[in-house]
Each structure stands twice: as structure tokens, then as C-alpha cells.
């Protein structure tokens, strides 16, 4: 039975976007924590830790997100954890986000000028206090535009988890297409919804970027 692509189909697709957003939020929060650890480890004074974090970043940036997904999906299953696809998807996207955010934030931390470290050390601050009060506040400023930019990549990459059966936007499109056989229309709608999510974030990232170069701190 072939259905027409009507308002019900459209609403089904539109509602499935909430899972795209949920996945993005999971990956952003878990991956954010993970990325923060990676970034701090990457600039640690302890060489083996630095190498370890570097290896993780190299791995995540050197393999397809699809492979991270399969490895965590099948790996977790083998470890005896029979997780729903949604959770497996969230975990793999977090691993991916952690690698990229870790690298972005490492760059931000290292672009805080070295004299800021010296000046705060000379004022008898501990290393933790230097991070907390002097380095990180400046790094956050530097890291915000590329971090927001990365969110766009993250939203788009959630489409990949449709392959393990999570009914997010892309998968919803597939389902509707299988029922209506109107792929052009269906995927144009899907693309449009992604665009409506991603474009404002892209614009925000660009505005922040320009603000950085034009404005002064404060």
C-alpha cells in the first residue's frame, strides 16, 4: 500500500527531530565532560598522559564516526551490556564529540599567552588556581566560536546513528520514504529541518567569531 506524503507524514518526520536534538544534547554534555578531561590531559605536565590524550584525539579524528558507532555498539554488546540503540548511539557520539572538543579546547588553552601563566605563578597561585581564575576564563572566550561551530557538525553526524535503528530525523525520512516512495520530497523536507536546526547555530558561531576579533574582553 502506497501512502501519500501528507501532513501526518510531515508531522512524523518533524517530531522525530526531537531525538536528533536529544542525541545532540547527550553527546554535547557527556562529550563535553570527556573533552574537558582530554583537553586538560593534553596540556598536562606528565608526558605519558599527554600522549594518551593525543592518541585518543588522533584516533577519533582519523576514523569515520560510523566506525566509532559500530565499535561501541558491538563492543558494549560483547561486554555483556545489552543497551538500547539510543544509549549506544549516545555513547558513541559522546566519544566522537569528546575527541573533537578536546582538541578545540586544548588549542584554546594553549593560545592563552604564556606570560599569563608566569604572571599568575608569580602571584603565588597554585596550578589549579591558575586554571580556575586566569587561564580557563580566557580559554573559554577563545573556544566559544569553534565550539558552537562544532555543534553543527554534531547535529549532522547524528544522522549516522539511523543505521542502528534509532528513529531520529534521517531514519524517519527513510521510513516515510519506504511508505510513500517520494524520496525527493521526503528527503528535501528532512534536509530542510536539519537546515532549520543547523543554520542558526552556524550564524551564531560566525557572529561570535566576528565579535571576538572586533570586541574587547568584558
Amino acid at each position: 500500500m502506497i501512502r501519500q506524503f501528507g501532513i501526518d507524514e510531515f508531522i512524523f518526520i518533524l517530531l522525530s527531530a526531537r531525538w536528533t536534538l536529544v542525541l545532540t544534547l547527550i553527546a554535547l554534555s557527556l562529550g563535553g565532560v570527556f573533552g574537558f578531561v582530554i583537553a586538560l590531559t593534553r596540556v598536562s605536565r606528565f608526558a605519558p598522559l599527554r600522549l594518551l590524550a593525543g592518541a585518543w584525539i588522533g584516533l577519533v579524528q582519523g576514523v569515520p564516526v560510523l566506525m566509532l558507532l559500530f565499535l561501541s555498539y558491538f563492543g558494549l554488546a560483547l561486554a555483556g551490556l545489552d543497551l538500547p540503540p539510543m544509549i549506544a548511539a549516545g555513547i558513541s557520539l559522546s566519544l566522537y564529540a569528546g575527541g573533537f572538543l578536546g582538541e578545540i579546547w586544548r588549542g584554546a588553552i594553549q593560545s592563552v599567552p604564556h606570560p599569563q601563566w608566569e604572571a599568575s605563578a608569580a602571584l603565588a597561585l597554585t596550578r589549579a588556581q591558575q586554571y580556575r581564575y586566569v587561564i580557563l576564563p580566557q580559554a573559554v572566550r577563545i573556544a566559544t566560536p569553534p565550539t558552537v561551530g562544532f555543534v553543527v557538525q554534531l547535529v549532522k553526524n547524528t544522522a549516522i546513528v539511523s543505521i542502528i535503528g534509532v528513529v531520529e530525523l534521517a531514519r524517519a525520512g527513510n521510513l516515510i520514504n519506504n511508505a510513500t516512495f517520494q524520496p525527493f520530497k521526503v528527503f528535501a523536507v528532512v534536509a530542510l529541518i536539519y537546515f532549520c536546526i543547523c543554520w542558526p547555530i552556524s550564524l551564531l558561531a560566525r557572529r561570535l567569531e566576528r565579535g571576538m576579533h572586533a570586541g574587547r574582553p568584558g
Binding site: 584516533l59 579524528q61 582519523g62 576514523v63 569515520p64 564516526v65 560510523l66 566506525m67 559500530f70 565499535l71 558491538f74 563492543g75 560483547l78 561486554a79 555483556g80 553543527v152 549532522k156 553526524n157 544522522a159 549516522i160 539511523s162 543505521i163 534521517a170 525520512g173 527513510n174 520514504n177 517520494q182 524520496p183 525527493f184 528527503f187 528535501a188 528532512v190 534536509a191 536539519y194 537546515f195 543547523c198 543554520w199 552556524s202
Partner: protein, 232 residues
């Protein structure tokens, strides 16, 4: 936990994986070449013909704010509806060229913008046409400066080619899913294939670095631009 790694069944199908590997190399190579050319051309066009600014920007924004996978579905599944039938491989290369073209347009634009206006004035004052100024004075320094960003984008594109398995292209990850279904050794299969991608990404980076060193040799002005961008 009683799981034991068994790589033998996977290695027994090494020929399938190797064919997939070769197809990934070919598709990615072709896609990078076409996408890189398309993007460079569009970036130049936008500079020369202001009227094209809006359509080119629209193209760049649409592509950069929608998933590659959905673009692939539109090209492969959607285009036949308007009478354009493509093999999965053709659809793959076209989608890749269009996608990478948009990113390249944006990166090269940034490169063109980074060339100081005085350079352009100097060229125009020597009676060169606007096209000649772009071609002989602006393009090479622009590309040299963005070569590191372009290289990263090319590597990302190669990695994204893994989603071609969604439309049953038998490239590396498509081959992997076949091997996985035949051998029931999913985890082992994907470990092997992940390592293959990792190796391919490293080799591609090395090739692009070498290419950059040839196109924008160290010791020349262009080499300095390339290296200063790489160190940032």
C-alpha cells in the same frame, strides 16, 4: 565474560575488504579532486562576478548545514524521480564533489580574503585584468595559506565516504558489513576496518603534506605562508 577474539574468519575474507579499501581510495580520490576543483572555481567566480555571490552563498550554506547522508539520499534516491538515474558509485562521487565543493569554496574564500588589497592594487596598476590578478597574484598565496585547512577537510571527506555503505556501495565499510554478516565476527571486523581507515587517513595526510611541500615549497614565500598557517 567468555568472549574470545577471533580474527581468522575476518582475515579469511581479506580479499573482500581489500577490494572495498581500493574502492574507498578511488571514490575518495575522485571526490576530493572534483570537489577541490569545484570549490576553488566557485570561490574565484564569486570574486569575479558579484551577481553570483548570492547563489553561491546559498549553495555553500545549504550544503554545510545539512547532513552528508541526507544529501546522498537526495542524489541517489531523489534524482531518479526527476529522471536522473545514477549508479550508487556515480551518486557517491557526485554527492562528495558537491559536498566538498561547498566546504572548499568557503575555505578558499577565506584564503583569497587574506591576501592584502595592496597586492591586488599593485596587480591592477600593472595593467593586469581582474582575472589575471586573481590567477597570477592572489590564488597561489591564498591556497598556500589555507592548505592545512583544506587538507583536514579532504581527510574528513575521505572518512565520510564510509556512509556510502548506506546506499550499498561496496567500499570499505560496505565490504565490512558483508564480511560481518558472513562471519558473525562483528567486533573483529570493525576493529580491522577501523585500523584500515586510520592508516588511510594517516597516509592521506602525509600525501597532502608532501603535495603542499611540492606546490608551495619551503624557503619560498608560499612555503612560509603554508607553514605559518600550519603552526597556528
Amino acid at each position: 565474560m567468555s568472549f574470545q577474539f577471533q580474527f581468522e574468519p575476518v582475515f579469511a575474507r581479506a580479499d573482500v575488504l581489500f577490494d572495498g579499501f581500493l574502492l574507498t581510495v578511488q571514490l575518495a580520490g575522485l571526490g576530493i579532486l572534483l570537489g577541490g576543483l569545484l570549490g576553488t572555481l566557485l570561490a574565484l567566480l564569486r570574486r569575479l562576478v558579484p551577481a553570483l555571490g548570492l547563489p553561491i552563498t546559498a549553495y555553500v550554506e545549504v550544503v554545510r548545514n545539512t547532513p552528508f547522508l541526507v544529501q546522498l539520499f537526495i542524489v541517489y534516491l531523489g534524482l531518479p524521480q526527476i529522471g536522473i538515474r545514477l549508479t550508487p558509485e556515480q551518486a557517491a562521487v557526485i554527492t562528495m564533489a558537491l559536498n566538498l565543493g561547498a566546504y572548499t569554496t568557503e575555505i578558499v574564500r577565506a584564503g583569497l580574503d587574506s591576501v592584502h588589497p595592496s597586492q591586488i592594487e599593485a596587480g591592477l596598476s600593472l595593467a593586469l585584468s581582474r582575472w589575471q590578478v586573481l590567477r597570477y597574484i592572489v590564488l597561489a598565496p591564498a591556497l598556500a595559506r589555507v592548505w592545512p585547512s583544506l587538507s583536514s577537510q579532504f581527510v574528513l571527506m575521505m572518512l565520510s565516504s564510509s556512509v556510502f555503505s548506506f546506499i550499498s556501495v561496496q567500499e570499505l565499510s560496505g565490504a565490512a558489513s558483508n564480511v560481518e554478516q558472513d562471519t558473525f565476527r562483528s567486533f573483529e571486523t570493525y576493529i580491522v576496518v577501523t585500523l584500515a581507515y586510520l592508516g588511510l587517513a594517516m597516509v592521506l595526510r602525509l600525501i597532502l603534506m608532501a603535495l603542499g611541500a611540492v606546490l608551495f615549497p619551503s624557503g619560498s614565500g608560499l612555503g612560509r605562508l603554508r607553514q605559518s598557517a600550519g603552526n597556528r
